[in-house]
């Protein structure tokens, strides 16, 4: 061990006693001291003077210079961002003329306001004596110069301080502009110390934004570098106080862009007093040149697929080959657009053996830049994403523009990216970013990122990362951009630190007088949309059958080219030709590229996909979207699928579901050149919606269409789900005898009844008793309970003849959130691959018969007690009614006999009812809604608790008279049990049920006590849920019936 100084640096002190040194210890002695990098800008005020900022800036340049000379001496983020910000001030002023002429079109301006110590300190002395005492001590020794300049940027009428002049580094930025790296939503972002800079977005001429990502001297444009190197700090006469910044700039003597013979056309920068900006002898200048070559990017991004020429105006090649399986982003900065009148850039490229030459044509001159993978001299670098194991793609939704500019108010852009390198997971979705521009004439307007709370009139919201690729084994990451109240026509893509342009080719709607009406039936299990062209009065053209909702063209523009292979559908080709790790992501997190009627078609399952993290405000695509993929593939582990949104009272979820449907409809209208704001909408609600649910729906349908389709509420109609099918069936001539007709609409969640007499609806009734009760678990409130007997019987045994469905079935069974009804619905959807219908028909027929008998008995009683004669025609609608022909019998005569038995029991006498079970049972509601005359009076709703001897309008009425009601219902249930036995016996005789089948146990179950479950479930499902004054639109009749059915499934 050797002698060592007890100091920060060993200067070789000669003694272990206190010993005089020749000179003080100064920073220069400390070159040998290895500093740690400084990432925390909290270190940037570490000097004992109020003017610390000025000296720390000097220190920042010293540190960054050290790192430049010796990379192991890392300066750290704090110093780099400070140096970058100060260089930004120089660069901003250098490009001032350019910005004024090209990029600042909305009143943005820069001012240099003069401040004089001798004059302006008087106000400080008067108003802030404490501060005055301090700065008066220090100003003259620390700053010396009497005059300072404040650089003020004004935007939207708000002033922001960008910098103050400094006799030591030229400028210092305010400490509130310092940035920290923070983690938000799983990604690293830069956050300004002061909130006032959150919305500061000043585009650089060279791409990107000033005062954001640190950009050191070497990364800047050649013009600017030569200005700093040769003009500002090239002279020996620069004041000694500029030593640190001068040494930093002069350390770039070997930079490829620095040339001694570089000539620049420069002009003075003026202050608000029209003085030339001279800071401690340094005369700050602005460029007076337009440099076409500066519009080329230094790098050109190569993607391992062809960019869709239908969707994007990409690179044109002088010597193209049809075998080319790659493409390039346009290697230009967005500002190149200012050279041209349209979005068409006069440019092409020639592919050479080892390089690509890109030509830019302007004012009759040809400018060329050559790019190579291993560039030499002036060549730019080709960044090959395939070689870098980076995959990315993007999709724009919608991809069509309305001819009415104000209607182009919403665009969502999905970016999907993946690190394909198994070795080093260094790339994630955070490292791809987009910037949007709108070219209007020769003006190029940057669409700035704005926070929703800032109430901007238009802009792009900060990107939201929905999925992160956490490991190499996982799929890709996704992020979404949302533009509001503006379209865009230039897109800058940044991958890592390289940028390139994409110029979207938009579909455009034509101005016509064509209008449409859409009917949307948002059902418990399925959702259906039908479309009808309107007549010249804007009403649905009743002379034609409504159309199934289906599109001819995609509504999403993906970046990748879609192969010409007619063997597969277009929708499938779009999805299959994206890179593998993105396939599931675009299916599960975005809108389908095309509702083609084959791969994607209505009806769809009423299901919404959303992220687990419920702390985030629900937003379409950012965290939720319609689960078009449901029952086809699984969402990733971070997402859930919700299937109960119709009755769940979660307004946010419903709103998102409706919003996506409306955006799809908007796209459809524009594709058909429809007049968007003359569109009409029809939506449906069941009569059994209770108060709050009805209000939620009303609110959504009042607000969403206005924002998306620009239609007033007068163009939106709500009809009852119950009556709509009648109009369709009537139109289709399914109802020959219209004397007394009942429509029974059995859905997943509810069953609706409407009684028509001579084509005029008399009464309607709705009960929350659909076919889902067959697949559910009675009134068990726990979503993950799986006790339904039907489910239990097949869960472990049912097999699919398609491996993907087999896998999916296994997944579903093990997902806690999947309900029994969801899984059984999945079986039913894929009936042909598992034959569940046959099993159900064989094993559970008596349960379905009980369900049907209950409905018919209830209906007959309800009609009778409302003074109506027995219907002579009964028409079934709704997807739920399919269990009748699927699991009970396809023989109409058998069904007719059941109904006749019921009517005989309730009405007495003999009956001869006509039965209709049409094919289009789900569609009938939607179609019927289009046929219904909006001017007809609405049908009278009645509520029926199973007894009409008293009025049971409100919950309070039932509470008061519950015992009377119970007595009456017990009689009814006895009749129902007896009727059920008769029906079973009759069906046995007709061989619909095996004669040897043991139906006695079902009869016995039906005869068991109904009083107790009625009391129990009335209390839990009605009395404890609703206040006395709430009108009770449902029927308590079914409460013990639901429980009974659940028990029967377990027999």
């Amino acid at each position: 061990m050797a002698r060592i100084d007890l100091s920060i640096v060993d200067r070789g002190t000669s003694s272990t006693s206190w010993t005089k040194e020749d000179v003080a210890l100064t920073a220069d002695h400390l070159d040998k001291v290895m500093e740690q990098k400084t990432d925390n800008s909290g270190a940037l005020n570490s000097l004992p003077t109020p003017f610390a900022r000025f000296f720390v800036a000097r220190e920042a340049f010293r540190r960054v210079k050290e790192e430049h000379k010796e990379s192991r001496k890392e300066a750290g983020f704090a110093y780099k961002q400070m140096v970058s910000d100060i260089l930004d001030v120089y660069e901003l002023l250098f490009n001032l003329t350019y910005h004024r002429n090209n990029t600042w079109k909305s009143g943005e301006k820069i001012e240099l306001r003069e401040w004089s110590f001798s004059e302006n300190v008087k106000s400080i002395k008067k108003n802030m004596p404490v501060l005055y005492n301090s700065i008066n001590d220090y100003y003259k020794s620390d700053i010396v110069e009497d005059k300072l300049y404040f650089l003020i940027f004004t935007e939207n009428g708000k002033e922001k301080l960008l910098a103050c002049s400094s006799p030591i580094t030229g400028f210092v930025t305010p400490p509130d502009m310092d940035k920290a790296k923070i983690k938000e939503n799983g990604s690293v972002k830069l956050k300004f110390a002061g909130k006032q800079y959150d919305d500061l977005h000043i585009r650089r001429k060279s791409g990107g934004e000033y005062f954001r990502e640190p950009k050191l001297f070497e990364e800047r444009d050649a013009d600017f570098k030569n200005y700093m190197y040769n003009e500002l700090f090239g002279s020996d006469n620069v004041d000694e106080r500029y030593k640190a910044i001068k040494e930093y700039i002069r350390s770039f003597q070997n930079d490829k862009d620095i040339r001694n013979d570089y000539t620049l056309k420069l002009e003075d920068v003026k202050s608000d007093q029209n003085d030339n900006l001279v800071i401690n002898g340094l005369s700050i200048k602005s460029s007076a040149d337009v440099d076409i070559m500066s519009f080329f990017t230094d790098t050109m991004i190569r993607v391992p697929y062809r960019i869709s020429s239908e969707n994007f105006a990409g690179m044109k090649f002088k010597n193209d080959s049809k075998d080319r399986d790659y493409d390039y982003l346009l290697p230009f900065k967005p500002e190149v657009m200012s050279l041209f009148d349209s979005t068409e850039i006069a440019s092409d490229a020639h592919i050479g053996r080892n390089s690509v030459k890109v030509f830019l044509y302007y004012n009759g001159k040809e400018y060329v830049k050559e790019y190579a993978k291993d560039p030499i001299l002036e060549q730019g670098r080709i960044v090959d994403l395939q070689a870098a194991s980076i995959s990315f793609d993007l999709g724009i939704f919608p991809n069509i523009l309305s001819h009415k500019e104000q209607e182009n108010n919403y665009f969502k852009i999905l970016v999907v990216g993946a690190d394909e390198d198994p070795e080093a997971p260094i790339f994630n979705i955070d490292e791809i970013s987009l910037s949007f521009f709108k070219k209007n004439g020769t003006d190029l307007i940057p669409i700035k990122e704005v926070l929703p709370e800032h109430d901007a009139q238009y802009g792009v919201e900060p990107a939201v990362v929905r999925s992160q690729q956490k490991t190499d084994e996982e799929e890709s990451g996704t992020k979404f951009y949302e533009l509001f109240n503006t379209s865009f026509n230039v897109l800058e893509v940044k991958v890592l630190n390289d940028t390139g342009l994409l110029i979207p080719i938009w579909q455009k709607s034509k101005a016509t007088n064509v209008t449409f009406t859409y009917a949307i039936d948002l059902g418990t299990s399925n959702t259906f949309i039908s479309r009808c062209k309107n007549d010249s009065d804007g009403n649905p053209d009743l002379s034609k059958k409504p159309e199934l909702f289906k599109m001819d063209r995609p509504m999403v523009s993906f970046m990748h080219e879609v192969p010409e292979d007619k063997q597969y559908s277009y929708a499938r080709r779009i999805e299959d030709s994206i890179f593998p790790k993105a396939k599931n992501k675009i299916k599960t997190e975005f809108v389908p590229a095309l509702i083609d009627g084959t791969d994607y078609k209505f009806p769809i399952r009423t299901a919404l996909c959303g992220i687990h993290d419920k702390s985030k405000e629900p937003k379409l695509f950012d965290n939720h979207n319609i689960a078009f993929f449901y029952e086809k593939i699984m969402a990733n582990d971070d997402q859930d699928v919700m299937t109960d949104i119709k009755w769940d009272k979660d307004e946010d979820m419903l709103r998102i579901f409706v919003r996506e449907l409306l955006l799809i409809i908007k796209c459809d209208i524009l594709q058909r050149d429809g007049d968007l704001d003359r569109t009409r909408l029809v939506w449906f609600s069941p009569l059994s919606f209770m108060g709050q649910t009805r209000e939620i729906y009303q609110r959504i349908w009042n607000s969403e269409p206005v924002n998306i389709l620009f239609i007033p509420n007068t163009q939106i109609r709500r009809f009852s789900e119950s009556e709509a099918p009648y109009y369709y069936y009537k139109k289709m001539d399914y109802i020959a005898d219209s004397d007394a007709v009942s429509v029974i609409d059995i859905g997943g969640g509810s069953t609706d009844f409407v009684y028509f007499k001579d084509n005029i609806p008399q009464i309607a009734n709705s009960v929350h008793f659909g076919c889902d009760v067959l697949w559910e678990n009675g009134f068990n409130d726990f979503a993950n309970v799986k006790e339904n007997g039907i489910y239990l019987k097949y869960a472990d045994n049912l097999r699919f003849n398609r491996p993907d469905l087999e896998d999916l079935n296994e997944c579903f069974k093990h997902v806690d959130a999947m309900k029994t009804k969801d899984i059984i619905n999945f079986w039913l959807t894929n009936e042909k691959h598992c034959q569940i219908t046959r099993f159900l028909s064989n094993d559970f027929k008596p349960v379905f018969i009980y369900h049907l008998t209950s409905i018919l008995f209830y209906m007959a009683s309800m009609y009778k007690e409302n003074g109506l004669a027995a219907p002579r025609t009964i028409v079934f609608s709704g997807n739920g009614s399919k269990y009748i022909d699927s699991f009970i019998s396809t023989e109409i005569s058998a069904l007719k006999n059941i109904i006749d038995l019921v009517f005989n029991k309730v009405f007495g006498g003999e009956h001869n009812v006509n039965i209709k079970l049409p094919e289009e049972r789900k569609e009938s509601t939607c179609y019927g809604g289009l046929y219904r005359n909006p001017n007809d009076a609405a049908v009278r709703d009645v509520v029926y608790q199973g007894d009409k001897s008293k009025e049971y309008e409100k919950v309070g009425d039932i509470n008061t008279n519950f015992e009377d009601l119970k007595d009456a219902l017990l009689v009814k249930y006895k009749d129902l049990a007896s009727l059920y036995k008769d029906v079973l016996d009759m069906l046995k005789q007709e061989n619909i049920i095996d004669y040897m089948a043991n139906t006695a146990k079902y009869v016995s179950a039906a005869e068991e006590d109904m009083g107790t479950p009625l009391s129990v479930y009335y209390k839990t499902q009605v009395k404890e849920k609703y206040a006395d004054e709430v009108p009770y639109k449902d029927s308590v009749f079914f409460l013990p019936v639901i429980n009974k059915i659940f028990n029967m499934t377990k027999i």
Binding site: W18, L30, N45
Partner: protein
């Protein structure tokens, strides 16, 4: 009474002053100067500061017992120099840091709101201070923010009673010594500021012209990663801050003697909790403390002087050899006090010690307040040495474990006293030789005989 005003700024100032007190107790000479410590720290409730106040109070108590409250001359050995607090000088109670410890926000303190919204000076303020600076209470505004500290401390100093008292009581030939660290918040801002205020006291020549020394403590310890503790202080910046500050000091500080003490690498890493700052005593603090004693021996220089010292071998545990000859006196003084501590332990139980009868060093003496004060002080001293000898790097020149083999009490030196009996015998001899009738202060006699006995054997260290 010639005085040296010792300004102890921030946590480092407090810890160095602790070492100064310990060295004074050990017998280091202040060359006749009365030490007047002035503690500047914005942390009102800092435990370490309270402990220093208590320690100084204990020292004064013992010193006063030995001098019969000033009626006798000071002793030559242990506790030979006087400490007087600034409060006692001026008979005032205001603490030095009340304004800085308040919860008032810095922005309010400097009246930012008084500026009209369109006053261009708003931009001037925005250039100097961050919103966070302006919104921080003064009690925390110092943390690593010397730019804020400068303004607040400047105002505090200007209007403070203690500063007025200092200016009033600083007389010709009095001296000023400033202890601060360069890499923190309070110390880094306080030193140049205080110096500026003192040098700027044009109307008080005794103050303006007082011989001034300062020790600037350079980084010598690290702190744990602030991201794990939530602290605002990141020791990753210590060297950077030091470099920046030294560059700034180059043209601003004017002390006649400027001492530097620090480490070339941060060997020790402490918990990062500024509220506690209960970091254990460190060798560099002892070195910084030694600067005061060196300063008090020097005359006014013709030009500004910069002083450093080395250690002979850069070992993690330092003994007399690895420390080097320059540390002989410090080692001797610490060895002396540690021997005194041993005697304090032994003597109350020594039944056959003749001085029990001759000098009244009996049970009553050992139960007396004076001796008990000495015992308490010694306990703190022992803990201080224990910390020094186990820290990184360790100041550990002594072997104090075996009282039966005391020739090795100081590593690398063989003392003639083999065990405690040598020192007891020497105390008896010293007592017998002392015929003084000036006083009957048994406590003073005890310290005097003990020191003479110990010194008899330990002066060998200085050879």
């Amino acid at each position: 009474m010639k005085k040296v005003f010792v300004f102890c700024i921030g946590g480092t100032g407090i810890r160095v002053m602790k070492s100064v007190t310990m060295l004074m107790a050990s017998g280091m000479s202040t060359n006749g100067y009365t030490v007047v410590p002035v503690i500047l720290d914005p942390h009102l409730d800092l435990e370490e500061k309270k402990n220093l106040h208590t320690l100084i109070g204990s020292y004064q108590n013992i010193y006063n017992k030995t001098t019969n409250n000033g009626s006798l001359n000071h002793l030559d050995g242990f506790f030979n120099s006087e400490i007087v607090t600034i409060n006692e000088l001026n008979n005032q109670l205001n603490d030095t840091q009340q304004a800085a410890g308040s919860n008032e926000r810095f922005g309010s303190y400097i009246n930012v709101a008084n500026l009209a919204t369109d006053d261009i000076n708003n931009y001037f303020i925005q250039t100097l201070f961050s919103t966070k600076n302006l919104d921080s209470p003064l009690s925390v505004g110092f943390k690593g923010n010397p730019n804020v500290g400068t303004v607040v401390l400047g105002e505090m100093i200007e209007g403070a009673d203690w500063f007025k008292a200092f200016k009033q009581h600083c007389e010709k030939d009095d001296r000023v010594f400033i202890i601060s660290s360069i890499f923190g918040g309070t110390g880094a801002s306080g030193y140049p500021l205080l110096e500026k205020k003192i040098k700027g006291a044009d109307s008080q020549p005794a103050v303006k012209n007082a011989l001034m020394g300062a020790v600037t403590v350079l980084p010598y310890y690290g702190l744990k990663d602030p991201s794990t503790t939530g602290s605002d202080i990141d020791s990753a910046n210590f060297y950077t801050k030091t470099k920046a500050a030294l560059a700034y000091y180059e043209k601003t500080v004017k002390s006649d003697y400027l001492y530097y003490a620090g480490e070339t690498s941060l060997i020790q890493v402490y918990e990062n909790d500024e509220k506690k700052q209960d970091d254990t005593a460190h060798f560099i603090e002892l070195v910084a403390a030694s600067a005061l004693f060196d300063f008090l021996q020097r005359e006014k220089p013709e030009t500004q002087q910069f002083l450093t010292r080395a250690i002979e071998n850069a070992q993690n545990s330092l003994d007399l050899v690895s420390l080097g000859s320059g540390y002989k006196e410090i080692v001797k003084r610490v060895a002396d006090y540690k021997l005194l501590g041993a005697l304090i332990d032994i003597l109350p139980n020594e039944n056959y010690f003749p001085l029990k009868k001759n000098r009244g060093f009996n049970d009553d003496f050992y139960k007396d307040a004076a001796f008990k004060a000495l015992v308490r002080f010694t306990e703190i001293y022992n803990k201080w040495y224990q910390e020094l000898s186990t820290n990184k790097r360790a100041f550990a020149p002594l072997n104090t474990d075996n009282l039966k083999k005391m020739e090795g009490w100081v590593k690398n030196v063989s003392l003639d006293a083999k065990d405690d009996s040598y020192y007891l015998l020497k105390m008896i001899q010293t007592s017998n030789a002392n015929k003084s009738k000036d006083h009957d202060n048994k406590f003073r006699f005890f310290l005097q005989f003990a020191h003479e006995a110990i010194d008899y054997y330990t002066k060998k260290i200085l050879k």
